[in-house]
Symmetry: D2
Subunit: 341 residues, 4 copies
C-alpha cells in the first residue's frame, strides 16, 4: 500500500535524520537554551529579516496554536478563523479548552476567508454580551490546499491593523504554500512582515517533528516561554528541534523539499485533469482534493491510500498529499493508474 492520505507518513528527511544522529552524543543544556536552538533562531530571523523577532520551537501544531492563542487573548476575547480552520474543526476544542471562543467564518474557497468577511466580524458596535474578536487565524496554505495571495494577505492585515487585532498565520504547510505558483514572488520575509506571529511547520515538511514559532509583534512576546512550559510545549531536549530547523534553513533544504513535493503534486493534478477527474478546490500546493466515483475510489484504494474527505453529490472527495518523502516512482505509478480509470 502506497500512502498518499497525509503528509506525515514517514519519519524525517535523510539530512535531518543524519544531523540528529551526528549530534546525538553531544551534551546540551535543556529547554531550548542550547546552541542549536540559538543558531536556528538566528538563521530564521535573518531569513525573515526580523532581527528583533522571537523564535520558539514547539513539538506540534495543535500545541503551538493553543499556546500562542491563549497567550495573546484576554479571557473575553475570541479568535476569528475559517470554519475549516485547523483550530475550528481538527483540534477537539483545544482553543475552547483554554477558555476562548472560535468565531468561525464560512470560507469562500478552499478554506480561505477574505478581508471583507473578517471586517464584518470586527467592525461591529460594542457589545459586551458577545466575546470581543481579539485575533485572526488563517492557515497558509489552508487545510484544503488553498493559498492566500500576497494581495489577499495584505488586505487581511489591513483590517487587522485597523482594528488593532493581531494576525496569526498557521504555517503547518508554509513551505508548500511558498512553493506554490501563486506565491512565486513571496518570501518568508514577506510573511513575517505581513503578520504579527506565525509558525513554520516542520512535521509535514520533513522534520521528524517540530514547529518554529516566530513572534514578530513586540507586544506579543512577553513571557512566552512561561506559557510554553505551562501548556507542556517546552521540550526538555529542546536541541533536537534546533538541530532540525538549523538543517532546514541553513542552505535551503526547506525550500527544496517544498518545491519537490509541490512539483509531484502538480504532476498528479495534470494527470487528473487529463483523466477528466474534477478537482474540488483550486490546487497549487502539495494537497489535492478531487471527486471520484465510488468505483474509482475503490479501484485506486487497492494500491493507494487516499483520504476519503467527505461525500458530495454521490461522489467521494479524496485527498492526496505529496510530501518531502514521496517517491517519484510511486507518483509515476499513480499517474498511470489514474489514466487507466
Amino acid at each position: 500500500m502506497i500512502r498518499f492520505e497525509c503528509d506525515y507518513t514517514r519519519g524525517a528527511h535523510p539530512r535531518i535524520l543524519a544531523r540528529l544522529v551526528e549530534t546525538n552524543e553531544e551534551q546540551s543544556p535543556g529547554y531550548g537554551t542550547d546552541i542549536y536552538c540559538m543558531q536556528a533562531a538566528e538563521i530564521i530571523k535573518n531569513l525573515c529579516r526580523q532581527p528583533e523577532a522571537d523564535v520558539h520551537f514547539l513539538v506540534g501544531g495543535t500545541l503551538t496554536n493553543l499556546t500562542i492563542i491563549s497567550a495573546i487573548l484576554r479571557p473575553h476575547e475570541a479568535v476569528i478563523a475559517p470554519t475549516t480552520g485547523h483550530i475550528s474543526e481538527s483540534e477537539t476544542g483545544a482553543i475552547e479548552a483554554t477558555g476562548h471562543k472560535v468565531i468561525t467564518i464560512l470560507p469562500t474557497e478552499a478554506g480561505k476567508i477574505t478581508a471583507e468577511q473578517i471586517r464584518a466580524e470586527v467592525d461591529i458596535p460594542e457589545n459586551i454580551h458577545s466575546p470581543r474578536p481579539g485575533m485572526i487565524f488563517i492557515s497558509q496554505s489552508t487545510e484544503l490546499g488553498g493559498v492566500y495571495t500576497k494581495t489577499e494577505m495584505l488586505a487581511i492585515k489591513e483590517v487587522a491593523n485597523e482594528f488593532g487585532i493581531p494576525l496569526f498565520i498557521d504555517g503547518a504547510r508554509l513551505g508548500y504554500a511558498l512553493a506554490s505558483e501563486e506565491l512565486s514572488d513571496v518570501t518568508l520575509a514577506d510573511i513575517a512582515e505581513i503578520c504579527d506571529v506565525f509558525y513554520i511547520g516542520g512535521t509535514k515538511l520533513g522534520a521528524l517533528f517540530g514547529e518554529a514559532l516566530v513572534i514578530v509583534n513586540d507586544k506579543l512576546k512577553r513571557d512566552f516561554r512561561y506559557l510554553m512550559k505551562q501548556r507542556g510545549g517546552l521540550f526538555a531536549k529542546g536541541r533536537l528541534l534546533g538541530v532540525q530547523f538549523e538543517e532546514f534553513f541553513k542552505d535551503g533544504l526547506y525550500d527544496e523539499v517544498s518545491k519537490y513535493a509541490v512539483g509531484l503534486s502538480m504532476r498528479v493534478k495534470q494527470a487528473l485533469n487529463e483523466a477528466g477527474i474534477p478537482l474540488k478546490y483550486p490546487a497549487t500546493t502539495n494537497q489535492l482534493f478531487f471527486k471520484l466515483t465510488d468505483e474509482q475510489f475503490a479501484k485506486l484504494s487497492e494500491k493507494y491510500m487516499l483520504m476519503p474527505w467527505v461525500q458530495s453529490d454521490g461522489k467521494v472527495i479524496a485527498r492526496f498529499c505529496a510530501d518531502w518523502s514521496t517517491r517519484e516512482e510511486d507518483i509515476a505509478s499513480f499517474i498511470t493508474d489514474i489514466g487507466n480509470l
Copy 2:
C-alpha cells in the same frame, strides 16, 4: 565540560536511534494507530500483567501530567501532591491552568509523602467551600531521588481505595526507581497493580523523547484520546513513540539502561561518602543531592556541570544525575576529583 546536571543532556540510546533510522522510510498511519504503537502497547501490557490496560504514548512529562489529571478530575476536584512534586513546583501552574488546585503536602523525606499525611487531607468533613481531593499524585522515583518502598506504596493505595480516589504515579524516572536497591523485588507489574494510572518515562531513560501512560483503572479510560488531542499531546507521527517503546521493552533495554545509570550513581555516592561529603537525601537511584562548600562547588564546576539546587546553611546543595548515556570514564574522572577535594 562534562554535564551531570540533569538526565536529558544527550539524544537517544544508540539502539533506539538505530530503530528510528531503520524504520524512517516506512509509511504509517498517524496519531498512534500504527503497528509499532500497538506492538509496544502489547509488550507493556504483558509486562504489567494488565491485559485490559490502555497504553497511550505522549511527548513529554508536563503534557502527560496535565492531560491525565484534567481528564480525571471534575472542576471542583483537586490533586494532592508533595510540595516538591513536579506538578507543584516545576510546571508553571500547568495543573491550575486546566482549572484544578494542587493541594500540597510537605514531604517527610526526599520528596516523599506518607499515607498518613494523605489521609489527613482526605479524611475530613464535607466542606463545599474547599476543593474536594480527587486524585493523589506521587513520583517514583521522586524529584529529589527518593524511592517509595512497596510497603509505602501499598499504604498510600489503601488510603486511595478507602476514599475512592485514584492514585497516579509520575514515572518520569520509573526505570531508575525500579533499579534502586529499595525496589529490588518490585516489578512493573507491581507498580501497575498498586496504582490506577502511571506513566513510564522515556525522555530521561534514553528515548529521544516520549512517555508511555498506562491506565489500569477501567473507569479512567473513557475517551482519553480526545483529551490527548485537545491538549496537544496526540503526536501526528505517533509511530515514532511506538518504535522507541517497543525497543525499550522487547528485550529488557529499559531495565538495562536503568541499572547501568544507577550503578554509576552508586559509585559516585560511595566516593562522596569516602570524601566525607554529606548527602542531602538518602540516594539509591540515578540522582544524588549533596552538600558542597562554595569552594568545592566552584572547583568541581571547572570540569563538571552540576545543578546548584538550593543554598542551605551556607553550602550549596548540588544535584548530580547519571543516565543511560553517562560515560564510565567521566564517572571515573569525577570520582577522582571528588577524592581530591
Copy 3:
C-alpha cells in the same frame, strides 16, 4: 417613557417584595441551608412530581447556565445549542470560558431546533479530532419567543436518550412558555419528566432575582453545591432566594403572573395583526418580534422603549416584552398607538 424592551425593567412582584420585607429581620444560616430554601425546594419537587430531584437556587441565568453545563461536561465534551441560544450569543463566551465548545445549530423557527437537527450532530462516526457532543441545550420559551411543543420536546428527549446525552432546558422564561396556548396541557411535571435538568427562571417572572435549578437525573447531582460555590453562584444570604420561590409556588403566583403577561402580549399581537404589522416569528408568549418601518419605529419610540433587535429588509425587527409588572393602561395606550400607525 414606557419600557417594553425587556422583561426585567422593574423590581419584584409586590407579594414577593412583601415577603422579603416580612422576613427581613429573621436570622438564618447561610448558603441555602435555611428553612425557606428547604420549603421552596419541597414545593417545587412536589409540583415537578420528582421527590428525588435536587433543587438549587442561583442568582442569574448566565451563572446558572455556566455552572450546570461545566458541572456535567468532561473537558472534551461540547454542548449543542441553537445559534440564537442564550449561551451561544448572549453570554460573552461564558461556556467557552469554562473550557467547552458550543456546537451551534441554525434554528428552524423562532430560536427552536429540531430532534432531527440534533441527531445529525450526534449520530456521527467516532472522531477524536472534534469535541464530543455531551449535552443538549434548549430554551423554553426561546430567546425569540418560540415554544417547543410537547411532541417536539419528546422527540428531542428521544434523541438525547438514544445517545446518552443529557437534555438541559434553560427556563429563564419557563412560566411564559407554560402560559402559552401551545403548552396548554403541559405542566412543570411534564417538563421535569422530559429533561435531565432545567431551571425555572425567577428574574424575568417577578422575582427580585433568582433562578431555581432542578436536577432530575440522578447522575448529574453529585457535588453540585461545590460547583455553585466555585463559580460564585452560592448566595451567602441564600434564604432570600428560598423566600421568593416559596412565594412563587406555594399557591400559584408563578402561573398567575405568567398568564397575566402572556395575556397582555396576546392583546398586543392581535393589535399588530389588525394593523397589518407582520410578526417576525410565531408568538404565543410574552415576547413579540415584529417588523416596523423606520418611521413606525421612530413614532412608537417617542413614547415606548422597544428593542431594535436587528435590521431586516430595510425594516426594524422590534422586540416587545410584557411581564408580571406590565400595566394594563400602558398596554391599552400602546394598542391605540399601534392602531394609529
Copy 4:
C-alpha cells in the same frame, strides 16, 4: 437562638430595604446602565477622590474576586494571598478554576501578611518553571478580624509598585475595618490611593446583597464589563445594586452601621477580657475569635449560635460576629452570660 456566627444572617438594613421598596415600580434599563448605578458610582468616586476610577457592582464576594483576578492575570501569572485568605481557603478553588495558581503565604497574625513576606515571593530570579506572581491579594479587614495599618498597607504597596504587580484589596468587611480604632485616621480615599483595585463589601454590611468594585489603576479597566458578563456577574436588574450603594454612601450610612457593629463587638471583647476568656487574635473590628472550653462553648450554645472555627489545645476557637443588624439587647444578654461562665 440568637445568631452571632456570621455577619449575614439577616436581610438588609431598613433604610436600604425601604429604598428598594420605594423604587420597586420604576422602570430601568438593564445591566447596570441605569441612573442609580451611575449616581452610586459618582458618589463612591467622590468619596475615593478618584474621579477617573471605574466602579462596577457585582452580586457576591467570590464572583467579584474571581472576575477581577482572572481579568488581570495572564495565564501564567499567579496571585499571592495569605493562606487564610478567602480565595485561598473559602472559595472552592474558584481562582484555580479560572486557570491561576494562588501562591499562599502563612500569615504572621490574624490573617495578615507583611510586605517582607510578599517581597520574598516576588524578588526572585526569573524562573519559567513556576508561575510568575502577577497580583497581590489581601483582605481588609481579614477573614480573622485582622486589620492592616496604614503603614503596613503602604509597605505592601511599595513592594507592589517596585515589582509592577497590582495590589487588590478584598473589602468584604471594609466598613468594619475603617471603623476599627487602628484605622481611625484612614478614609476610603486612602484605601483607593494605596491599592490598584478594591471592593467595598455590601453583603456583610447591610446591603441585601452586592459589592462595589473600584478599579483605580487605569491599566486594569479595559473591557471589564465583558468579563463581568462572561463570569455571570453582570446583574440584569443592575439598578438594585445601584439603589443600595447610593443609599449606603449618600449620607454616611455605611460608616454608621460599621461603627455600630464594631462598637457592639468591642463591648463583647471587653466582657471576654473581664471574664478571662482569651482572644485568639487581636480584635478591633466586628469579628472576635476566642478560646472556650468545650463546657463554656456548650453553655453559650444553648442560647447563641457561635461558629466553632477550629479546635486548638483542647479548646474551641469560637467566632463571634456583630453586624449592622445585631440587637443591643442580644449583646447585653450575651455579655451577661459571658460573665456567668
